[in-house]
């Protein structure tokens, strides 16, 4: 029942971009340094985000990545589902899954409730929420 590093790093990566959302491209090397994550591994992760047009890449020297949308427009769910695949706790509550036991199966009730509960959380937190939380937290120690 774990979220892998892929999803976790993707979220930190996107949050990092949201916090450095100046219009200038942010290099992966910088993100990797700030987040203390292997840059080579981050390359693979951002490649997925890039192909899905969640970020735009600028190649060459001084290149990097920028968000394609406003932080408000990314939910945590979008990012996790893209990088992790489905967040469903079991295959049988995923879209168009078919199981012969389905009609008999009582435990599927539990999986559906877990699924709904998780979706409710991840689909209502945006990158902007996390960015604001982090910025506010940073401000707490100013005075």
């Amino acid at each position: 029942m774990k979220i892998s590093t892929k999803g976790r790093y993707a979220l930190r990566l996107m949050l990092d971009l949201a916090l450095n959302n100046t219009g200038e491209p942010v290099s992966l090397k910088d993100i990797a340094k700030r987040q203390e994550i292997s840059d080579k591994y981050l390359e693979q992760i951002i490649s997925v985000l890039n192909k899905a047009k969640y970020v735009q890449s600028i190649r060459g020297a001084q290149g990097g990545y920028v968000l394609t949308k406003k932080p408000e427009e990314y939910t945590v769910g979008m990012i996790l589902r893209l990088t992790e695949g489905s967040l469903a706790p079991v295959a049988c509550v995923e879209e168009d899954y078919n199981c012969e036991r389905m009609s008999d199966c009582t435990t599927v009730l539990v999986w559906k409730k877990i699924n709904d509960a998780v979706n409710e959380v991840v689909d209502h937190i945006t990158l902007a929420d996390l960015r604001d939380y982090e910025m506010q937290k940073a401000g707490e120690y100013v005075i």
Copy 2:
């Protein structure tokens, strides 16, 4: 973000015992047949439930297993945590976990919310709820 067969089978196994809770021991072979699960695999799973005293075993011919408590007293969370280990979506929201980034880490907010949401579900469904649901469902077609 998946629950493994171990936890899923454990829940079906326990529900099967709740539905056949006559006081007579139920053999694993029968459970395996009803649930269409490998009996050899179920042996390993029930061994965990047995060591935790969630079930009591009766050895020898005509032996089997019985629940040690009333179905009302088992939550889905108890059964899943025992067989799956922690249900936390990431290690850092588990009890007494320590991570240097903890104080900086904004994404942990997300994991905590997921964790709470899942716990809220699994800790409020009991075996009796599932048993009643299944019995009621079976009755629907009587007339």
